[in-house]
């Protein structure tokens, strides 16, 4: 039994924020500097809408675009660190809102930049085990809610979005390969929203903290062996991969990771400029763009990798 990605749809937050908008709040920065150094020209910030609203809109888009029979969906899984409530599970709310059957599985899981690769692995396992035939995998974040107004670096970087992917036992766009995962919780304080949970109940959930250099060093250490291990597990040589699609963290991180692994520029997909860092949604946004660019060629193989908050990382292959 195999599992396939059938289709992907995305929904960005409702407010487009340009570099000119950022510079208005931080006059000692320039539009050019943000564009050249961060590699982002615009990002999206959710207004009133929550992450689950973004996931809902992405799912609706997918269902309409692909004329999906909603009664064929037997699981809905949401990756988010911006749930609507502590309880209930946001995926349960979305099952009803989307009008899915009541005999479906529905749950959330809490991961960031590695979330989509985890989702593909979870969905594939469910399909291979015969637990489901068609799964709606959703990712959605509104990190901007957690970012302090005065934190210009993170405001320029993070973007709010939701995505929906249909994963199926039926043949589709990409066959999902074997995943490799990794975890090192010793780095948990380096990218964190401390308040609002049980450990610091009196603090508001905000002030997202990121120790950029430490996260960067973790990435440089973790990702090259992750790529090697994923190639090995899928019995692939480096040159067998037509394109590497990585979590769009930021321009610098991507440049140095690409160089460290010696990936040629034309085999390294970038779509940071017009979307920003949307956390667990960067890879599906890349996939959506990659498909729309007409770059999918039958038989081509791709390697996806996500890495970040946790620390948590994962990679998986796809075959068109």
């Amino acid at each position: 039994m195999e599992a396939y990605i059938k289709a992907v749809a995305c929904q960005m937050g409702s407010h487009e924020v340009t570099n000119a908008d950022i510079v208005r709040d931080f006059p000692d920065w320039s539009e050019q500097k943000i564009s050249v150094k961060i590699g982002i020209d615009k990002r999206y910030v959710a207004g009133e809408e929550t992450a689950s609203d973004l996931a809902f809109k992405a799912a609706k888009k997918l269902i309409v675009q692909e004329s999906i029979d909603k009664t064929s969906i037997d699981a809905i899984i949401l990756c988010t660190q911006s749930p609507d409530y502590f309880l209930p599970t946001t995926a349960c709310v979305l099952q009803d809102r989307l009008g899915l059957r009541t005999d479906v599985m529905a749950f959330d899981y809490n991961l960031g930049c590695s979330g989509y690769v985890y989702g593909l692995g979870i969905c594939k396992s469910f399909i291979v085990a015969g637990l489901a035939k068609n799964i709606l995998l959703l990712t959605a974040e509104t990190y901007n809610r957690y970012i302090d107004k005065s934190d210009r670096g993170n405001r320029a970087l993070f973007s709010d979005a939701g995505t929906a992917t249909l994963i199926s036992a039926e043949r589709g766009l990409f066959k999902i390969g074997a995943p490799v995962y990794g975890t090192d919780g010793s780095g948990y304080t380096n990218l964190i929203v401390k308040g609002g949970g049980a450990r610091n109940p009196d603090e508001k959930a905000g002030n997202l903290f990121m120790d950029g250099p430490t996260i960067f060093n973790f990435t440089l250490e973790a990702v090259p062996p992750l790529v090697q291990e994923t190639l090995k597990r899928n019995s692939l040589e480096f040159d067998d991969v037509s394109c590497f699609i990585f979590h769009q963290a930021n321009k610098h991180m991507l440049k140095f990771i690409r160089e460290a692994i010696h990936i040629p520029e034309d085999k390294f997909y970038l779509c940071l400029q017009n979307y920003g860092n949307t956390v667990s949604s960067t890879i599906p946004i890349c996939l959506d763009n990659f498909v729309q660019d007409g770059r999918v060629k039958s038989g081509d193989k791709y390697l996806l990798a996500g890495f970040g908050v946790g620390y948590s990382w994962g990679a998986i292959t796809l075959e068109a």
Partner: protein
Amino acid sequence: MDIKEFIENFAAEFEMTEPEEFNENTQYRDLEEWDSLLGLSIIGMINNNYGVKVTGEEVKNAGTIMGLFKIVESRVK
């Protein structure tokens, strides 16, 4: 390790500062272009060119290019 080459690699990470402005005594954090993102680039440059890990704190506190060079040199096998 060659300090001249290190200075060239260091200067190459800057987009808006001319290469001639860099020498071993350059207090890089005083350069107008310096910011935390350049700190990341320097960490990446050192990792990819010398196979050595330096921390954000070390980049922050090394002072001059020579100061950073000495840290890297002490770790290169």
